[in-house]
Structures are given as structure tokens and as C-alpha cells.
């Protein structure tokens, strides 16, 4: 599903501050995988997740989503790709504060132009799976951190993207909520057959995933 070939990424290229953030990354993530990029802080996990998510550019190499080379896309095409093919879960939840839980979950589906009846049905379905169906009318700032992150997961999964990229989703959660979230994401992975790639050093994530991809100093470690 996702294929990375000799991916290199530098920050401050040709500058005394140059950092070689990703070194010759070759990686394949198959459809339906529940995997995690792990490694110490600063090893390049988030950078790798960002380049896979077409959020950041690379200096050399190629990245494919199925047969489509995402590194060759312009900004508009990248935005389209993120909207239609990918789901994102961030450490800081990043919900839209002025929209209700239901509207946040429906956000991507509405941008993609799904019919309202389908949106309503799907929002309820995902919210029920993630046990936030009783909070559908609430605003994000009235929810706990765990609930907000579940809304973020629901938003990412609702439009049935090909892959969900989750960057440190449990970083702001306590252990109980981290475990609940990981259980739910695993359930989504199994039930919805959605491919999920985490970047994390949280033990709950490491213990929950099927595949661990270790990184150190910008390179994959066997």
C-alpha cells in the first residue's frame, strides 16, 4: 500500500545547521497493517509520518501510495490526496473548536461531499464504536482529553481513508485513556480494515501494534 524508496530528508540543507532527518528509508506498509514507528525523541518518526502523509517534502527518493507517486504531487494535489486517501490523528487533537462533536466527525466527509444521510449514519456508527455517541452535540472544549482524542480518531476514520497516520496520539492522555484509545483503534483496524501507522514511543502503542518499525538517527533499524 505505502512504499518508500531511498527516501532522504534534510532540514537546513546546505546550511551549517544541516540535519539529515531521514536516511535512505526503504519501507513498505501493507494494507490493513496496524504498525508503529518507534524510537527515541528526534529520531525522525514524526518526519517520516509527515512525508508519508504528503505534509512535508523530501530531498530524494520516492513515496508511493498504491501505484501513485505522492512525492510528485503539487500542493493542491497533495491536499486532495490527504482529503481523499488519508486520515490524521495528532497529539494535540486539533478539533475545530466552534463545531460540535458530530460536526467534527463529519468534517472530512462534508469536505468530500458525502450525502447528508450517509454522513449522519456514519457519524453515529463511528461515534458508537468509539463510545462518544452521547456527546455528539457537545463542543470539544467540554470534553476530556481522552474523549477529544476519540473524536479526532472518529474524524480520521469516518470517511474511510486508505490509511490513518497517528502522531503520538496517546502523548496527552493518562494510562487508562491511552489503553482505551489503543483498544479502540485496534478494533477499528480489525473491523473497518483500515491501515493505521503510528509514530510513538508510548508503551501502550508499542504493546498494541502488530508491527514495530524501529528508527534511530533518521534511519530504520533492523
Amino acid at each position: 500500500m505505502i512504499r518508500l524508496q531511498n527516501v532522504n530528508k534534510y532540514f537546513f540543507k546546505d546550511d551549517p545547521r544541516e540535519v539529515h532527518a531521514l536516511r535512505d528509508i526503504n519501507l513498505e506498509i501493507k494494507k490493513g497493517e496496524f504498525s508503529a514507528l518507534i524510537g527515541p525523541s528526534g529520531c525522525g518518526k514524526t518526519t517520516l509520518l509527515n512525508v508519508i502523509g504528503a505534509l512535508d517534502s523530501i530531498n530524494s527518493g520516492k513515496i508511493y501510495l498504491e501505484s501513485r507517486e505522492i512525492t510528485a504531487l503539487n500542493e493542491k494535489e497533495s491536499t486532495e490526496l490527504r482529503l481523499h486517501e488519508m486520515g490524521f490523528v495528532f497529539q494535540a487533537y486539533n478539533l475545530v473548536p466552534v463545531l460540535s462533536v458530530a460536526e467534527n466527525i463529519a468534517f472530512i466527509m462534508r469536505l468530500r461531499g458525502f450525502p447528508e444521510s450517509q454522513i449522519n449514519e456514519r457519524v453515529l456508527e463511528v461515534a458508537t464504536l468509539l463510545e462518544i455517541d452521547h456527546k455528539l452535540d457537545a463542543l470539544p472544549n467540554t470534553l476530556s482529553g481522552g474523549q477529544q482524542q476519540r473524536v479526532a480518531v472518529a474524524r480520521a476514520v469516518a470517511s474511510k481513508p486508505k490509511i490513518i497516520l497517528a502522531d503520538e496520539p496517546t502523548a496527552n492522555l493518562d494510562s487508562k485513556n491511552s489503553q482505551i484509545l489503543m483498544d479502540m483503534m485496534r478494533m477499528l483496524n480489525e473491523k473497518e480494515e483500515v491501515t493505521i501507522l503510528f509514530a510513538s514511543h508510548d508503551e501502550y502503542v508499542i504493546n498494541s501494534v502488530n508491527r514495530i518499525i524501529k528508527m534511530n538517527d533518521g534511519a530504520l533499524v533492523d
Binding site: 486532495e80 486539533n94 475545530v96 473548536p97 474524524r155 502522531d167
Partner: protein, 403 residues
């Protein structure tokens, strides 16, 4: 999707309520003040125009070709009766006034002043310009050699109701002739020429006094709503001089133009205030939410959708300000229309410009429609600069800042 963008825009526009309210109040107050100033300016101009139309020229005036250069009896219109009858049959003509005017000297026992004696028919003048409404003192009557005097002339001659005066001028035979008159009424038209010089008597009496034919006139004034009528009349009475109101009152035309300039300047200043106000609030709002926009773009929201959202936010703030401003402005103008703006403190100055001391505002739909378009435009233009911030925003920058 548009419904969602609309909701996002609406909720965000009023998210920082106090900040948004401040801009709304700023727009509303400046807009209502602008409407009031515009109404007062237009009221002043219209008042002067209206006075000149009613008391003198009408929309069109006909003179003998030589009369306006040389105001002698010989330069009168010889077939005034026929012209008047023709005009009265024209459906575009609302009213006609036939006047005979001669320059001369008005004198009392102690004072004398150069003046114009004007022979009129009261019934005609009433229909022409509601003449009785000009009455300041006394009554509208020509009984027993009665005369009506312009207010300034009455002041100069120091006459009151019931005072007697003598008007002397050259009659048709070339002799100096005089007529004794009794002041029945004092009129104030706010038309300086009339107020300073006019001495009205009955037209028939003036014909008799001057020894001129009753089929003559020095001016035939016409009221009409038909702008094209002047061309018809010019063609039809090519042997006479036919002039439009604006040709006869170039100063009023200049004043009208000046008021348009004043109004445009006020309008521009207010729109700049609106522009800067919305620009400020939108810029700060966008900077506050830059992370949110970055994330939205990151998860796939297109720039076009964000641009629509921001335009709508600015529009909501602008239109909220417009709505409050329009209501405030309407009531302010309504008050100024009904009660007027009392400038009696500056009575002398106002009188020297031929203006009444109480100015009644004018109000028309275009004030509101023009302001509406301008506020919509200002609102939309004001977000162009803040939008550049979003256009050049890379989602990765805010996502990195987040982690």
C-alpha cells in the same frame, strides 16, 4: 459543505464577542453619522433647490431673448397668453406661472431700496410652488393695493405689516411712475434674490401701473417632472429664450456638485474606517487561529474553502455593523427629517447663503443601498491581506510547532 463553511464562519465571526462587537459598534456609529451628514447635506441642497424652483424659475423658464441682458419693458414676451394656454394643454406641464417683473425703487418715508416689483397671480403661484408657505408675517393678500415683501427687503426698508411704501419705476411710455402700496405680508423663500429684492403685487395691477398689454410677461415659469420637456419647448418657442433650472442657477448646480464631493469624501472616510476595522479584527482573528487553519489544510481542507470561510466571516461582521448602522442612521435621519437640525445660532451666516435656520434632512433608499454595497466591498477587500497569511501557510509548519 457550504452549510458547514457558513456555520464555521458564523461561529468564528462571533467567537471573540467583545472584539467583534467593538468593530460592529465602530461600523454602526460611523455609518449612522455618515448617513446623518449625508441626509443633512442633501437636505440643505434640496431645500435651496426647492426654494429656487418654487419661488422663481420652476424647472423651465421662458424669457424674451433680450430680457435677461436688458431688463426693460420692451424686452417682454408679447404673446404670453397664447404660450401659457399652449403649455397648460401639455400633459407634461404640472403648473405654469406668468410673471411680469420690473426693476425700480421702493421707498418709505425714511428708507429706500432698489427692488424688483413682480406682478403675479396668487392662484397660479399657489399651484406653482405653494406660495402661501413662504409667508413669514401677515397674510397673502393683494387687497387694497396690498403688496408682499421679501423678508430682507422688509428689513432694509424697516417696514412692518400695514406700513406704506412707494414703488417708482419707468412705465411703458418712458415716464417715471409711482404706485403707493400697503404691506400685507412678508415672505421668506430662502432664495436670496427674492428675499432681498422682491415686491409682489397683483399682476393685473402691475399691467395697469406700467401701461403694458395684459398678454405680456417677462417670465413664464414651468413646473414639470419631464426632463425631456425642455427640448420640446426650446424647439417650439425658438424665438424666445428657454432656460432650464440648472442653466439659470449655476451656483446651485455648483453647490449640488460640492455636496456630492462632500458626501463622497465622508463616504470614503467611513468606508476606510470600516475597512480598517474589519481588517484589524480579521487579521488578529486569523493570527489567533493560524494553527487551526494549518491543521484544516493539513487534513485536506482546500484553500478555496478557507477563503470562502474568511470572506463570510468578514461579511458577517460587516453586515452586522451595517444592520445596526442602518437602523441607527434611519432613526437619526427620521428625527432630523421631522424635527430638523436647528442652526439658529448661525442664523445670519445661514441667511447669507440663503439657507433656513432649521435644516431638514433628506432620506432616500440609495443611501442604504450604496452603503450596503460599499460595506460588502470593504469587508471583502479587508480580508485580502489576512488571506495571504493563510495562502502561504504550510500545514507542516503549524504541525511541527505543535509537536
Amino acid at each position: 459543505m457550504f452549510k458547514m463553511i457558513l456555520k464555521l464562519a458564523w461561529n468564528n465571526a462571533f467567537l471573540r464577542l467583545s472584539r467583534t462587537l467593538l468593530v460592529i459598534i465602530m461600523i454602526a456609529v460611523s455609518m449612522s453619522m455618515m448617513l446623518s451628514i449625508q441626509g443633512i447635506y442633501d437636505g440643505m441642497t434640496l431645500n435651496m433647490v426647492n426654494s429656487a424652483l418654487r419661488s422663481d424659475s420652476g424647472e423651465i423658464s421662458i424669457y424674451n431673448k433680450n430680457y435677461r441682458l436688458d431688463k426693460q419693458i420692451v424686452n417682454d414676451i408679447q404673446n404670453a397668453g397664447e404660450i401659457c394656454a399652449d403649455l397648460e394643454n401639455n400633459p407634461s406641464v404640472k403648473a405654469v406661472s406668468v410673471r411680469y417683473s420690473v426693476e425700480g425703487l421702493s421707498a418709505t418715508a425714511r428708507k429706500a431700496s432698489f427692488s424688483n416689483i413682480i406682478g403675479i397671480d396668487l392662484e397660479e403661484e399657489e399651484k406653482f410652488g405653494a406660495f402661501s408657505k413662504f409667508l413669514k408675517e401677515g397674510e397673502i393678500s393683494f387687497e387694497k393695493r396690498g403688496a408682499l415683501l421679501g423678508a430682507e427687503l422688509a428689513k432694509t426698508l424697516k417696514v412692518r405689516i400695514g406700513s406704506k411704501l412707494i414703488f417708482s419705476t419707468q412705465d411703458k411710455s418712458g415716464d417715471i411712475n409711482s404706485i403707493a402700496l400697503k404691506v400685507r405680508g412678508i415672505i421668506q423663500t430662502n432664495n436670496l434674490v427674492i428675499d432681498q429684492r422682491a415686491l409682489y403685487i397683483e399682476r393685473k395691477q402691475l399691467y395697469e401701473f406700467l401701461g403694458v398689454d395684459t398678454n405680456t410677461a417677462t417670465q413664464i415659469a414651468i413646473r414639470t417632472d419631464d426632463d425631456a420637456l425642455i427640448n420640446t419647448i426650446k424647439k417650439e418657442y425658438s424665438e424666445q429664450e428657454v432656460k432650464s433650472f440648472l442653466e439659470l442657477n449655476p451656483l446651485l448646480k455648483q453647490m449640488e456638485d460640492m455636496m456630492v464631493i462632500f458626501n463622497s469624501i465622508t463616504f470614503t472616510i467611513v468606508m476606510l474606517v470600516v475597512f480598517i476595522g474589519i481588517l484589524g479584527v480579521m487579521y488578529v482573528s486569523i493570527l489567533d487561529r493560524i494553527r487551526e487553519f494549518g491543521i484544516m489544510r493539513g487534513i485536506g481542507m482546500a484553500y478555496n474553502h478557507l477563503r470562502t470561510q474568511i470572506f463570510l466571516e468578514a461579511l458577517f461582521v460587516g453586515l452586522a455593523g451595517y444592520s445596526v448602522g442602518a437602523i441607527l442612521g434611519f432613526f437619526a435621519l427620521y428625527y432630523l427629517q421631522e424635527t430638523g437640525l436647528n442652526l439658529s445660532t448661525y442664523a445670519e451666516g445661514m441667511a447669507s447663503f440663503g439657507m433656513p435656520t432649521i435644516i431638514y434632512a433628506h432620506q432616500e433608499f440609495s443611501y442604504y443601498s450604496n452603503t450596503f454595497y460599499a460595506i460588502v466591498l470593504s469587508s471583502l477587500l479587508s480580508v485580502l491581506l489576512p488571506l495571504r497569511k493563510i495562502k502561504h501557510l504550510h500545514p507542516i509548519d503549524v504541525i511541527k510547532a505543535d509537536t
